[in-house]
Subunit: 347 residues, 2 copies
DNA sequence: TTGAAAGCGCTACCAC
DNA sequence: GTGGTAGCGCTTTCAA
């Protein structure tokens, strides 16, 4: 065992915690000062080749792992980005998470928390992030508690809200208009001749995305002088089966000729249920979904859906954050990445 | 603006970064020492009610957000757990991630990195985590570079490997035997009378899970004196379509009476492709999958699959970590959470 | 190119 | 129950 790693730690705890060598240990081995080691690590060309070699050997010999905690405290900034999502197991958010992670790469670490779809949960995550002194924050939500907003603003760090685009972001935002997208899809259905159009979404409470989509649906109806019928609008829990049940309820209850199911895999569940019952799609009922994925394309008939650039949203969000952190941009910015209607066979 | 928050910061940067008050600011406002503020925050009952009230007011007045960086440096431990997964957008790993997050709750923060399915990627993540001085590590993988293993061992922190159970974990492990599960499913197919059984998995290279499953398939065949046929074993990329193509290749090529597709949504893709072609399942071909989810249950016919307790694995992994961190347990431990064969209509 | 000194904001430790 | 002192391991700043 190398002596540099063993002859230290003023108050070595009883447990056999072989915590790593410190920078000063490396310096001692290399015969230089700690400052020089620091420079060698963070600005290699500020050090002679010879010094560099000695230091690299010393690092290898001692198994030194730089201590970012100390670095952060001394330099007064971290390389940690905080990300809050409503849920970690939802594949839609997962796309965005991956987008963020891919852009942050190896130069930033990613602290992730889920809000459990609650504003209070988001607030708790934000507080934890600020406590860790993250250098930037991404929130997959544009609705927040007042305290969350205030904390993020006062923290003096860049933030990006993703998802439903709102007029007054805290700082930067990337996303699309759920209202416009849902309105467009509803008008698409109307254009195809459907008039008795059902609308299914997740529970609206605390869910700005679902609320906005319902609003878009209503906008489209009203534009075309179609009366909104309460019985044709459902709020349901997430899940395939849930979508299937909603479809059956709308078809066998109020009677609809088309259903637009937004959120999660509701539409896919509806289509699979129609398959199971032998209902012609379209014919007995047309089905439109949102949140396109490979699955929507592989079912029979393939689903007509809205597509949102979720992965790209993550990438752009992280990109905007980095631009600010690295001084390539300043000030607020809002980016609308839009939506697409993917026309397939279910309408 | 409160003066405590404005009359400080020796070298205030030019940019309008309103970084937060320090503990000593709070102490000054409350008329106590910094130590007392520290105690009030972390051990409320060690302080009189009166002192507590003054401090809470001071915190509110100054907008103080505790600095965990400083706390970590001084106390020599963090409340950050590191988690490496092969991918963030894969819903299977997402289950485990959510399980970990749910157990860590609000007392620990979660640093997440994806390895991009590469051992070198995992190594980079591990190094970053150790640099952040995480207090524990969870790795969704049981195959590592030698350097990864060594670093984790030397870090002197608890670690949990999840997924494919191996005889020599670094520290603790939770998961199941991919070999046994795949072997059991193959024997199940054999028991149903199938003899020309195809096997489809993701690319084996660097993927211990896929390799182990292939090995399990071969074990089952050999136990029943069935000759393994290379042409019946496929390695394919992930994805629904990929599964569909594999099915077609095996049915129209070497000719099989059953196919066992392991990994991701391969089996679902195969079933949907069979639907599209009007192939009877079973009949023309039986299909067995792995990684059960609601989707497998909603397709037609519902898929017979292996089920792994992925969410529970995350919970138990985090639980074991916490038990160690909070002194409720010591030493290595390995937990086999097993698998289930879910019998449905596709075999 | 290198080094010495002085903190970063907090907690461990000991005294009161 | 409370406070003073001395660091935690690094970087900033300035001097050599």
């Amino acid at each position: 065992m190398d002596k540099a790693a063993s002859s230290r730690r003023r108050n070595a705890p009883a447990k056999a915690n072989q915590s790593s060598a410190r920078m000063s240990d490396v310096a001692k081995i290399a015969g230089v000062s700690a400052m020089t080691v620091s420079r060698a690590i963070h600005d290699p060309k500020s050090v002679t080749l010879e010094t560099m070699n000695k230091i690299q050997q010393a690092i290898a010999a001692s198994g030194y792992v730089p201590n970012r905690i100390a670095r952060s405290l001394a330099s007064q900034h971290t390389n940690i980005v905080g990300l809050v999502v409503p849920s970690l197991r939802n594949s839609l958010f997962a796309e965005t998470i991956q987008g963020v992670a891919d852009i942050l790469g190896s130069s930033f670490d990613l602290l992730i928390a889920d809000s459990g779809y609650s504003l209070k949960g988001e607030e708790a995550a934000v507080l934890a992030f600020l406590s860790q002194r993250v250098c930037g924050i991404v929130m997959h939500n544009t609705k927040h508690t007042q305290r969350s907003r205030r904390m993020v603003q006062n923290a003096g760090i860049p933030s990006v809200e993703t998802g439903n685009l709102l007029p007054q972001p805290i700082d930067m935002s990337v996303g699309f208009s759920n209202h416009d997208a849902a309105c467009a899809m509803t008008e698409y259905l109307i254009g195809k001749g459907y008039r008795r159009i059902g609308f299914v979404s997740l529970i609206l409470r605390d869910n700005d995305r679902a609320s906005e989509r319902r609003r878009g649906y209503l906008t489209a109806l009203s534009r075309h002088r179609i009366k909104a019928v309460d019985a044709r609008m459902l709020e349901v829990p997430p899940g395939l089966r849930s979508g299937g049940m909603a479809l059956v309820q709308l078809v066998e209850g109020p009677g609809v000729d088309a259903v637009f199911l937004t959120g999660d895999v509701l539409a896919t569940g509806a289509l699979l249920e129609a398959n199971r019952r032998g209902w012609a799609v379209p014919g007995r009922v047309a089905i439109a979904g949102s949140d396109d994925s490979e699955l929507q394309e592989c079912v029979n008939p393939p689903l007509t859906t809205l597509r949102f650039p979720r992965y790209e949203i993550g990438r752009r969000a992280a990109g905007m954050l980095l631009d600010r952190l690295q001084g390539r941009s300043q000030g607020a910015a809002s980016l609308d990445l839009g939506y697409e209607i993917i026309e397939r066979g279910s309408v």
